[in-house]
């Protein structure tokens, strides 16, 4: 199908984008921010979403800046998946992010889709939400009341719901630099390559920062942090102990009764863990 009619405004600066967003929201319009539009425009073509106004932020230079902040790299929200895949910038994640980017959807989607857009949508089956939460990233937001930064971990508050206010824009993502001793694992299960995954497991352990986190995405409203398994991983438990702890973590999930979902979650978790613990 084709998208329903809407108004379109292209912002040349963050200030302009926020101004347009605020006045439209005040006027009772459903105004949506669009960057690459690779999820939003699909939703609009399917008439699942029909905003009154699109505020295009894809040309704001400031949103494509990448900054080295000594212990972290701050990536502008409008940096594309393809730029991350091509290693067009410093990689704080020691290969995790380029690998994830290169296996996300398809090249012709990755050239337009952005890191910030993916986080703003927070599809539970989107790769970046799970990965940014696993690595301990922080999300920089800017709105009419100024700037704030929130942990990626609590950013997703429900199904397609985030801590971002309707008049806020994701400006950047601050990703801690993994130390040389850090290891990561990533596994996702898709029935068809490039589709949204049924299960995504991301594991990051960085002993120098006393950090270990196992995230599970792909089903449910938001990615889940496997607390017990993460703790067990931090304490240097072996693969089997961590897997057992992960099973405990999963026992109370809404989809625990779903045999297919349980089995693919088990498989992606084991695969991601084995990349870290082998």
């Amino acid at each position: 199908m084709k998208a329903a009619a809407f108004e379109y405004a292209r912002a040349d600066s963050l200030a302009e984008a926020i101004k347009v967003l605020c006045s439209a929201t005040e006027a009772g319009q459903d105004a949506q921010v669009v960057a690459g539009g690779q999820s939003l425009l699909a939703m609009m073509n399917l008439r699942v979403s029909s905003p009154d106004l699109l505020v295009d932020i894809s040309r704001i230079e400031q949103l494509r800046v990448v900054l080295d902040e000594s212990d972290a790299i701050r990536i502008g929200a409008c940096v594309t998946h393809a730029a991350i895949e091509d290693r067009a910038m410093a990689d704080p994640s020691r290969g995790l992010m380029p690998m994830v980017a290169g296996n996300l959807a398809y090249r012709a989607v990755r050239t337009r889709g952005t890191l910030g857009g993916s986080l703003a949508l927070s599809d539970p089956a989107g790769d970046w939400v799970t990965v940014m939460q696993a690595i301990g990233a922080r999300i920089g937001l800017v709105g009419d009341k100024g700037r704030r930064e929130v942990e990626a971990l609590g950013f997703t508050t429900g199904l397609y719901e985030t801590a971002r206010a309707p008049t806020e824009i994701i400006e950047s993502v601050r990703i801690p630099k993994l130390s040389a001793a850090a290891r990561w694992g990533f596994s996702k299960f898709c029935r068809k390559s490039g589709e949204f995954a049924h299960s995504i497991a991301a594991v990051v352990i960085d002993p120098e920062r006393d950090f270990a986190r196992i995230m599970l995405g792909g089903s449910g409203a938001a990615p889940m942090c496997l607390e017990r398994a993460s703790q067990s991983l931090l304490q240097r438990a072996g693969l089997q102990s961590v897997e057992r702890a992960a099973e405990d973590d999963l026992a109370n999930r809404d989809d625990a009764h779903d045999e297919f979902q349980r089995s693919v979650h088990g498989a992606t978790i084991s695969s991601a863990l084995s990349q870290v613990l082998s």
């Binding site: 199908m1 084709k2 998208a3 329903a4 009619a5 809407f6 108004e7 379109y8 292209r10 539009g37 690779q38 425009l41 699909a42 073509n45 399917l46 699109l54 295009d56 894809s58 393809a82 959807a105 398809y106 090249r107 012709a108 989607v109 050239t111 337009r112 068809k192 390559s193 490039g194």
Partner: protein, 170 residues
């Protein structure tokens, strides 16, 4: 809304509604019908064109968002060296049947070859996974792309299929 862009090397000025996708604009306003529309939600790949040299989904790109940009469709790649090799290989190795997916396949395959990502069948299969074909079973498409990449590599015209960034000989 008024837009100015370059399509297949020619400057274009047009008045478009915001909801017009780049694909509809190319087909309806410019009569460039090589760009096909299948699913209209980014899955089938039939509408793949290039924007500023990068492959994109023309169904998931608004025409208004392309103001000032450079668009290239299959019609604009008639004399492109990689496309000539691909066309020859698709012809020889039966890389199409009904032809609906072919424009998108060709644009995607050209990008794979250009980026040195057509070195093996598995690499080509992964690279073309965003382009759906319901006729061929893909075998002949993959073979066609591999043969084109090999032919270009032998002629020293693009990166070797192994992914090495070998210099183009003068």
């Amino acid at each position: 809304m008024q837009i100015r862009l370059t399509v297949n090397g020619k400057p274009v000025r047009a008045d478009v509604t915001p909801r017009t996708s780049l694909a509809d604009f190319l087909r309806e306003a410019l009569n460039l019908t090589a760009t096909h529309l299948g699913c209209e939600h980014g899955i089938c790949g039939a509408c793949t064109v290039t924007l500023n040299g990068q492959p994109i989904r023309a169904c998931l790109t608004l025409a208004v968002a392309c103001d000032g940009y450079e668009v290239r469709t299959l019609e604009g790649l008639l004399t492109d060296e990689i496309m000539l090799a691909l066309r020859d290989a698709f012809h020889r190795h039966h890389g199409l049947q009904c032809g609906f997916c072919t424009p998108g396949m060709l644009v995607s395959a050209r990008d794979l070859i250009q980026r040195g990502k057509a070195g093996s069948d598995s690499e080509i299969r992964k690279g073309l996974s965003g382009n759906i074909c319901r006729c061929t079973g893909y075998t002949d498409i993959v073979r066609s792309v591999r043969k084109a990449a090999e032919a270009l590599s032998e002629a020293g015209k693009v990166r070797s299929p192994s992914g090495d960034v070998s210099k183009v000989p003068a």
